[in-house]
């Protein structure tokens, strides 16, 4: 039941905030802050209970499980369940969702001054849907939550975004909806294939895992589902929606897009594509990994070429998520752990960078690097924090991103992809370039435009404290995170390796 609460709290918080905003806008902000914080505490409590040695439930590698009948069609024998379950992977993702959720409420505290109630309704709806995506283990429910993320995100961009918001919002919506529908077709094809083999209609994840499929059919279904997730990820060359959406969204929107929405794509690959279509994924792995490396290099090079700060940060996401994709398809312990750490670290560091750029834009009303420069002298606090997260993004040892990317490269190397490892390492080189450019052009050098702006107030700077702590923690001692993830990872590997085949080292 606690899993249902996780979602219900967010949605009801959003509705309450919407209603409250009619009388008092501050109340709306406090209500949503309370809702996400409550969720965050819930997820921490779950984590504490789990690391204190909780056991698996008998029906799978789940720590917590909630199953209720939702839509039943007795004549056809179809039962769709409201089945939520949590393992280490979803636990970490939910915790990340809540942490970034808190950040997104705080960062919009001053930025959003119009239509506050409706804004928070949408914000909470996105967060609720994302938690739903991370918890759903009934494929119909999963698809439902997956599509539910779209509409509020669309509104967030289209109503509170920057100059070209409509264009960006429509592009975002159409890209993700198109591939979402392909995913739906794949899910249904899988369900009917399962029905043909066993005579049972089911959307249950655990039941569908061992569906016997012909090689060709499995490959097509895998491809459909893969495309659905790869667009969200985003995988090169399916990324064109991303720079626009990230750039035009309000800060909270960019934060959620980069920190969470992209992760749902990676999560889907881990949770569904690998275990449901093991052989097909193995056949497809070289192609996916090649595209991943292409994305790493392309994203980094494009980021280097940007002059708009937000666009720069947006393109770094393409590069970082390339590492995640690479790790997922290398499929050994190293690579999967690396992919997971990368996901969390990217959420924190890139999310923070978006918040910082948002703060800067609020003060200077520009995101163009050419119009900035030499800001360190006038806003040392903001610049210092930006420096920290830029270092994180470039993969400085001691910070989370480094651990993730290092593990992914190790894993890829061990999986026997020497060429790809080398090429991906070149991408890391480029990430140094864009990170340094970001710092140098905006914060260092002479203050040619005579900027005199207010630095972060201590209270505002304090918001970044948890993000800094998490990033350092991931960089220095990622073991608790990896340990939490391990059983889930083993389950994924167990399903994605053919019987008798040793996992790729």
């Amino acid at each position: 039941m606690i899993l249902v609460w996780l979602i219900v709290v967010l949605f009801s918080g959003g509705v309450l905030a919407w209603i409250a905003a009619r009388w008092n806008e501050a109340a709306a902000r406090w209500i949503s802050l309370a809702a996400v914080t409550a969720d965050f505490l819930l997820s921490l409590e779950l984590w504490r209970k789990y690391s204190a040695g909780a056991h698996f439930l008998p029906n799978g590698p789940w720590l917590v499980d909630f199953n209720a009948e939702w839509i039943s069609i007795p004549l056809a024998g179809v039962n769709i369940h409201l089945h939520l379950a949590m393992d280490g992977l979803s636990l970490l993702m939910v915790a990340l969702t809540c942490l970034l959720g808190i950040m997104s409420v705080l960062t919009s505290w001053r930025e959003i001054s119009q239509r506050v109630g409706f804004f928070h309704l949408n914000l909470m709806a996105i967060l609720g849907a994302i938690v739903g995506v991370f918890l759903a283990v009934d494929l119909f429910l999963f698809y439902f939550a997956w599509e539910l993320m779209l509409v509020p995100m669309y509104f967030l961009i289209a109503v509170w975004g920057h100059e070209r918001r409509i264009y960006a919002a429509v592009k975002f919506f159409i890209f993700t909806q198109a591939c979402g529908l392909l995913m739906l077709v794949s899910i249904l094809a899988l369900v009917f294939a399962h029905h043909q083999a066993t005579g049972v209609y089911t959307f249950e994840y655990a039941d569908l895992l061992n569906t016997p499929l012909s090689r060709g059919a499995a490959f097509l279904m895998m491809l459909g589902m893969f495309l659905g997730f790869a667009v969200k990820l985003p995988m090169f060359p399916l990324h064109p929606w991303l720079p626009d959406a990230h750039t035009e969204a309000p800060t909270a929107g960019s934060l959620i897009l980069a920190g969470l929405l992209l992760k749902t794509g990676a999560y889907g690959l881990l949770r569904f594509v690998l275990p449901l279509f093991p052989e097909a994924s193995r056949d497809f792995a070289p192609a996916a990994m090649t595209l991943a490396v292409a994305g790493i290099v392309y994203g980094a090079v494009m980021a280097f070429a940007q002059t708009d700060l937000k666009r720069l940060v947006a393109y770094t996401s393409v590069s970082h998520l390339g590492f995640v994709l690479l790790g997922i398809y290398a499929r050994n312990d190293w690579a999967l752990e690396g992919a997971l750490v990368s996901m969390i670290a990217h959420g924190v560091s890139t999310g923070s960078l978006f918040m910082l750029v948002g703060q800067l834009q609020e003060r200077t009303h520009t995101r163009e690097m050419d119009r900035l420069g030499g800001l360190w002298a006038t806003i040392p606090r903001l610049s210092g924090i930006a420096m920290f997260f830029a270092m994180g993004s470039m993969g400085l040892p001691g910070l989370g991103d480094f651990v993730g990317e290092f593990l992914v490269l190790m894993g890829t190397y061990y999986a026997g992809h020497f060429g790809l490892t080398v090429a991906a390492s070149v991408g890391v080189l480029f990430s140094t370039l864009y990170a340094l450019k970001f710092i140098q052009r905006a914060y260092h050098g002479p203050n040619t435009h005579q900027w005199k702006i207010q630095d972060l107030a201590p209270r505002e700077a304090l918001i970044f404290a948890p993000m800094i702590v998490v990033l350092l923690w991931l960089g220095v001692y990622p073991q608790p995170v990896i340990r939490t993830f391990q059983p889930a990872m083993q389950a994924i590997q167990q399903f994605s390796n053919a019987p008798g085949e040793a996992p790729p080292r």
Partner: protein, 484 residues
């Protein structure tokens, strides 16, 4: 005719009686309120009598040597219920809409009731005679309903266009029926079914020609491409409540009949017929979705979108097994609710002199009239098939039905074209959520009854999208009675 037959026909009798009451009352003294009330009461009473009719179902009526004219089985009654419920919504919306007009408002309800009667006959028809009878009753009433606001040129144009094209399509249908009758010597669906399944037709060309002509007639009525040319003009020209009726009830009744005819004669399984329908479905999805992109008028956008939606329904129609008819029926239920909502919002926004069907009319609607804006949003999302709306589950069901019978090419086309469809739904949404223009003329006050109907439709859209179980069960029972 036995007492049981009369019980089964009670809904028809009540609607006809209501029609007469309005006619006489209007002749004695004009009163818009009375006409509207009697109409809604009559339709509601007919709806309330459905359980009584169901208690004697299935009932074949008019069983003589020629075979039953109408069959009141679970399937027919389900559609009759749907038609009646939708007509109540149309009547209420029309009341609010016509209340702003100056003169001659009462006759509208007579026409509406006649049209409802025709649709009900269609939904229950199992014979070519009752088919053409129902169709003509419906069409003749619709001509005048389209042209009801006589001082609007665009409305008159719509009426005349509909008259010419509907008459032409009826001619096609009649000639097709004649050819089939010439071959089989019967006009009853189940007799036809028996002969067709036996494969006893020496003259294939005659049957093929007859079916082709009938499909053309169906295509006209359902506005499937390439027979869709009348749709945008009539949607645009007809008063908004009439458009709602044309889009929902008249098409739904026709689809009910199509499903009954083809599933009982299993003619859709014939290779050639399947192919023709597949091509029509494909062209409808493509043409509807692409042409809608070019429109700037809300009603025209919805017209083209309806062409595409009928194409989707046709995909489910072509799916084999039980899932196909179920998906068709469920989709129609969802589509009824959604289109009624969309045109209902247009109707309540319309001032006396014109329909509020330009995109500028809904600009900033969400900020000016939050509730209406939210309801229109819901309708658009449902049309686009976004979760937590009726349209989502309906589309899901169609894809499921298609996947179960392996018509992959049509399914992929459905997916691709509905993505194109997103563009124009989003265009309207963008307008609804844009900054309202300062000079925007204030929309007329929302009549209470219309508000209640719209709110109910909104609840239904969400309910069907989140908990479709109960309705699905009913749909399945209804469709199960289709197999005899």
């Amino acid at each position: 005719m036995t007492a049981q037959d009369l019980t089964a026909l009670l809904p028809f009798i009540v609607v006809s009686a209501a029609c007469l009451v309005v006619l006489i009352a209007t002749a004695v003294r004009r009163s818009h309120a009375v006409a509207g009330l009697v109409t809604v009461a009559g339709l509601t009473a007919a709806f309330g009598l459905l359980p009584a009719a169901a208690s004697v179902a299935p009932r074949a009526i008019g069983a003589s040597g020629a075979g039953a004219l109408v069959v009141l089985d679970g399937y027919g009654l389900f559609f009759i219920g749907l038609i009646l419920a939708a007509s109540v919504a149309v009547a209420v919306l029309a009341y609010g809409y016509l209340d702003r007009q100056e003169e001659h408002r009462e006759e509208f309800y007579i026409l509406l009731l006649v049209a409802v009667l025709g649709s009900m006959v269609l939904a229950a028809s199992s014979h070519f005679v009752s088919f053409i009878l129902g169709l003509e009753i419906l069409s003749v009433a619709l001509y005048s309903m389209c042209a009801y606001l006589r001082d609007r040129a665009i409305s008159l144009e719509a009426g005349i266009k509909y008259l010419v094209l509907a008459a032409a399509s009826a001619a096609f249908l009649l000639f097709g029926m004649a050819l089939i009758y010439a071959e089989f010597g019967t006009m009853n669906f189940s007799y036809l079914a028996a002969q067709m399944t036996a494969g006893a037709y020496p003259d294939r060309a005659l049957v093929a020609g007859g079916l082709a002509l009938m499909i053309t007639g169906f295509g006209f009525k359902l506005a499937l491409a390439p027979f869709h040319l009348w749709t945008p003009d009539i949607y645009e020209g007809a008063p908004a409540p009439v458009t709602a009726f044309v889009a929902s009830v008249s098409k739904g009744a026709m689809f009910a009949l199509l499903l009954r005819y083809f599933s009982s004669t299993s003619a859709a399984r014939l290779h050639g017929v399947f192919l023709v329908f597949a091509v029509i479905a494909a062209t409808s999805m493509i043409a509807g979705n692409l042409l809608a992109l070019l429109q700037n008028n809300l009603k025209r956008i919805l017209a083209y979108s309806s062409i595409a939606h009928m194409g989707y329904v046709l995909v489910a129609f072509l799916a084999a097994g039980d899932l196909g008819p179920e998906a068709v029926t469920f989709y129609l239920v969802a589509y009824f609710i959604t289109t009624l909502m969309a045109f209902g919002v247009v109707a309540v926004l319309s001032p006396a002199e014109r329909d509020a069907d330009r995109l500028e009319d809904v600009e900033g609607l969400f900020w000016r009239r939050p509730v209406l804006g939210a309801l229109l949003t819901l309708a658009l999302l449902s049309l686009a098939g976004i979760p937590a709306t009726a349209g989502f589950f309906a589309k899901f069901y169609i894809v499921a039905a298609g996947a179960s019978s392996g018509i992959w090419r049509l399914i992929v086309l459905l997916v691709v074209t509905s993505v194109a469809g997103l563009f124009y739904y989003l265009r309207v949404l963008v307008a609804v959520y844009s900054q309202p223009a300062e000079s925007a003329e204030p929309a007329p006050r929302l009549p209470l009854a219309s508000g209640v109907v719209l709110a109910l439709l909104g609840i239904l859209i969400v309910w069907l999208g989140v908990f479709p179980g109960r309705v699905l069960e009913t749909v399945q029972l209804a469709v199960a009675s289709l197999r005899f």
